[in-house]
């Protein structure tokens, strides 16, 4: 009973919010508004998906917003030099490379992931500054910029391209975790790293793979930014994106102790945040209250997780 409440709390919260808003505000319950919410949440859905993988394996990656920013800047340069296809590949690959470097550095030195990725975050944000020579870089060729924009901003089956991409990422990562041997290793390493090592799992490789995946997702976010805006800026993604992704994952019910959870939880966490913002707007509540409400929710979610885990141990 308690276990079920703990694991399904987010579904209840999301459902109640959704129904409440649908009743209280007629404009809320419309396809256009739903599409709008998804559009605003799409990048965060990607960040939350890779963050979920990191938290399940037992690490934090605070560097994703910086990696995404650096990737956005590199993507612009690469598109200008190599054309759109190779440019996009280079942008995503650059994110993965940065993630892998972070992972190798952290696993080789045994630095705590929280501090290690915090340091990486500064480093990569600085790297973005260097790549951009301190300012904004734009795609030189206007038709190329428009083609790229069509991918994310164009509408397919009623939803923007960026939404479909985000949903695809969520589904692919969920499948990776739930149905592959790699996914099983991720849960094992997060559940008990020592036991996984002695059980014959190459724990360091699994960890590096997770950091790389996290970087890959961030690289994709960088490319999507370039696609949407036709440029890469040193302030493309603030670190708030990384914090929000972690918060949403935890609010969704992924334990910060590692070893359990699923991607849909982080997704539902992000959508809950969006509903709160969207709903409060529609209801005419002062936007200045939103952050406070979000903050309290996050705290409650973590406190509930802690409480239920303690009661399990008794």
């Amino acid at each position: 009973m308690i276990e079920r409440l703990r694991s399904n709390g987010i579904v209840v919260v999301f459902g109640v919010l959704f129904l409440g808003l649908a009743v209280a505000s007629p404009p809320f319950f419309s396809f256009a508004n739903a599409a709008n919410i998804l559009d605003q949440s799409s990048i965060l859905l990607i960040f939350a998906a890779t963050t979920t993988v990191c938290i399940i394996v037992g690490v934090f990656d605070l560097s994703i917003a910086s990696v995404a920013t650096a990737s956005a800047i590199l993507t612009v340069t690469a598109v200008n030099l190599l054309g759109p296809v190779l440019g996009v590949v280079a942008g995503v690959g650059f994110g993965a490379l940065l993630g892998m470097i972070t992972g190798l550095a952290i696993t080789a030195t045994g630095v705590n992931s929280f501090i290690g990725t915090l340091a990486a975050s500064f480093t990569y944000r600085g790297l973005g500054l260097i790549l951009a020579s301190g300012g904004l870089v734009s795609i030189a060729d206007q038709p190329t910029a428009e083609t790229l924009q069509q991918i994310t901003e164009g509408t397919y089956l009623g939803l923007k391209g960026v939404i479909w991409i985000a949903l695809a990422v969520v589904i692919v990562i969920e499948i990776l975790l739930a149905f592959t041997i790699f996914g099983r290793m991720v849960y094992a390493v997060g559940g008990n790293r020592r036991a996984a090592f002695l059980g014959g799992i190459r724990t360091k490789r699994v960890l590096v793979a997770c950091y790389t995946l996290s970087g890959l997702g961030a690289g994709l976010a960088g490319v999507l930014y370039v696609s949407q805006y036709g440029s890469g800026a040193t302030n493309a993604y603030s670190d708030t994106f990384a914090f929000t992704a972690i918060a949403a994952t935890v609010v969704g019910g992924v334990s910060i102790f590692g070893g359990s959870g699923a991607v849909w939880r982080g997704s539902l966490g992000i959508l809950t945040f969006a509903l709160i913002g969207n709903g409060l707007n529609l209801l005419g509540v002062d936007t200045t209250y939103q952050l406070t409400i979000l903050g309290l929710m996050i705290f409650l979610a973590v406190a509930a997780d802690q409480f239920f885990r303690r009661s399990e141990r008794m």
Partner: protein
């Protein structure tokens, strides 16, 4: 009991956890200076009773009387103030604080608002004198070995000038000479009028040390009286509720099969020096030694979990030098590590996931997991090791200690190793589970597996193995074959020179 008024009386204590009735109406009197042994199989309710007496858990029903007064204890702090000091199974030291600070934690001598270091050192010296424990008072607790941390716990319990000290398995992590010191301090406490309630799995210890013994079974007190009336057999019979043959199988033939595991010149940077031995097909070779002698290090080096600085390992004549457990497993070596919870199991994961942890490759269909095959294997393996469970999707954290150990054995079965290393497989499990583990090892050996068996309990090593190596200071110090003279083996444990026989 004697004519003395009891210093602590438990009256009709009842304590349940959810649906589990851990203690069912137990009454126990403890007189001043008595040393009362509390024994029983795992899950019999000993620790729960001890914790109720010490105030960790308030009882559901019944009362605890201390020095003739009914006391309602709500936490260990209440217990301490009433005169009951608990030394728990788990070590609870402040890692960064020094030995003396940990010992006197909660009763640190002060001068005004400041710590009185001189008084602290004086008090610590008194306790060190009493216990004959030789620890540097200024060392941070985090730097101590487990056994030494336990000594700090013992000294802390003593420092409280309690009427009753409750000790839950104090000797579990100590070496033989350290146990001697522990016994000395328990007797010293008793002589000064402090009563001791001692929970122990070591029956010889209980018989030698205690004045009274209480046996629990299924939450009830089934036997209680002066220790002089008891024997190992009578206590075992009371614990299990039926008479059990306590002796190990005497039939011990030396294995004659071909050599499976060969270790030559194994060394590690810190502990091991030139370790060489071989294990034959179907043989269970015992590794005996004091804590810190290097038994576990040998196991870990062979398994690739620790780095080795020199040496060769072969399995069936093929090189099997592993620098990662994954390599060892690929070459047919598997290890069941010494601490189930910390090193063996993934507590929150299901039985299925724990069973298939080391054989994930077997269930891979091009990287995809074959869930159905995993569940089928899990069900089969669970049955083969006689696991008691509800569903294979159940988290292993919900299983008892003995059943958790079976999960690790079942995992080893799925690996189908040629060489199996088991490090302290029976620590903290009850007698029935222990016997089941011994039977399992024998069965594996009969199937041709070479087994390397490590245990701190010397009777167990000699009882299970037909050949035993004694490890001392990182070297193979002696080799013994059944039938053994136990005195010879114990002498070797302490580094006495022996003529092998």
């Amino acid at each position: 009991m004697s004519a003395l008024e009891p210093v602590v009386s438990a009256r009709k204590i009842v304590k349940s956890f959810g649906a589990t009735r851990a203690v069912r109406g137990v009454s126990l009197d403890i007189t001043p200076g008595a040393i009362v042994g509390l024994i029983g199989e795992n899950g019999a309710g000993k620790s729960t009773l001890a914790r109720v007496i010490a105030g960790v858990y308030p009882p559901d029903d019944g009362v605890v009387e201390i020095a003739g007064q009914i006391r309602h204890l709500h936490d260990p702090h209440d217990g301490l103030r009433a005169g009951v000091s608990l030394m728990a199974q788990e070590i609870s030291l402040v890692p960064a604080a020094t030995v003396e600070e940990n010992v006197l934690l909660g009763s640190l001598p002060r001068r005004g608002p400041f710590l009185d270091r001189k008084a602290m050192r004086r008090r610590y010296r008194e306790l060190a004198e009493l216990t004959q424990f030789d620890l540097d008072p200024a060392t941070p607790a985090a730097r101590l070995r487990t056994a030494d941390q336990q000594k700090v716990e013992i000294m802390r319990a003593l420092s409280r000038d309690a009427l009753l000290v409750v000790m839950d398995e104090p000797a579990a992590a100590l070496t033989a000479d350290e146990v001697e010191h522990l016994h000395h301090s328990i007797r010293e406490m008793s002589r000064r009028g402090t009563a001791v309630l001692l929970i122990s799995h070591f029956l010889e210890e209980v018989l030698e040390l205690t004045s009274h013994v209480a046996v629990m079974r299924d939450g009830e007190l089934v036997r209680e009286g002066p220790t002089v009336d008891e024997t190992v057999d009578s206590l075992v019979a009371a614990m299990v509720g039926r008479a059990l043959a306590t002796d190990y199988d005497e039939r011990k033939e030396q294995a004659t099969g071909p050599v499976r595991l060969q270790v030559r010149g194994l060394a590690s940077t810190d502990v091991l020096r030139d370790v060489s031995f071989e294990v034959r097909q179907g043989e269970i070779l015992g590794l005996a030694g004091l804590i810190g002698a290097g038994r576990s290090e040998i196991a870990r080096c062979i398994f690739g979990a620790d780095e080795r600085s020199a040496g060769e390992v072969t399995v069936d004549g093929n090189a099997a030098n592993a620098s990662h457990p994954a390599e060892a497993i690929a070459r047919g070596i598997f290890m069941v590590p010494e601490s189930r919870r910390e090193q063996g199991l993934i507590p929150a994961a299901s039985i299925t996931d724990n069973l298939t942890l080391s054989t994930l490759r077997k269930y891979s269909r091009g990287g995809w997991m074959d869930r159905r095959a995993m569940r089928a294997s899990a069900a089969r393996l669970a049955e083969e090791v006689d696991l008691r469970f509800d569903a294979v999707s159940q988290p292993v954290a919900t299983l008892s200690g003995g059943n958790q150990q079976k999960v690790l054995f079942a995992r080893a079965r799925d690996v189908e190793p040629k060489v199996l290393i088991v490090d302290e497989p029976t620590r903290g499990v009850d007698i029935a589970a222990k016997r089941a583990i011994h039977a399992r090892l024998t069965e594996l050996a009969e199937q041709g597996v070479a087994v390397l068996f490590i245990s701190s309990e010397i009777e167990e090593v000699l009882g299970v193995c037909s050949r035993v190596l004694v490890i001392h200071r990182g070297r193979v110090h002696g080799e013994f074959r059944a039938p053994y003279r136990q005195e010879d083996v114990i002498a070797a444990l302490f580094g006495q020179s022996v003529s092998s026989r």
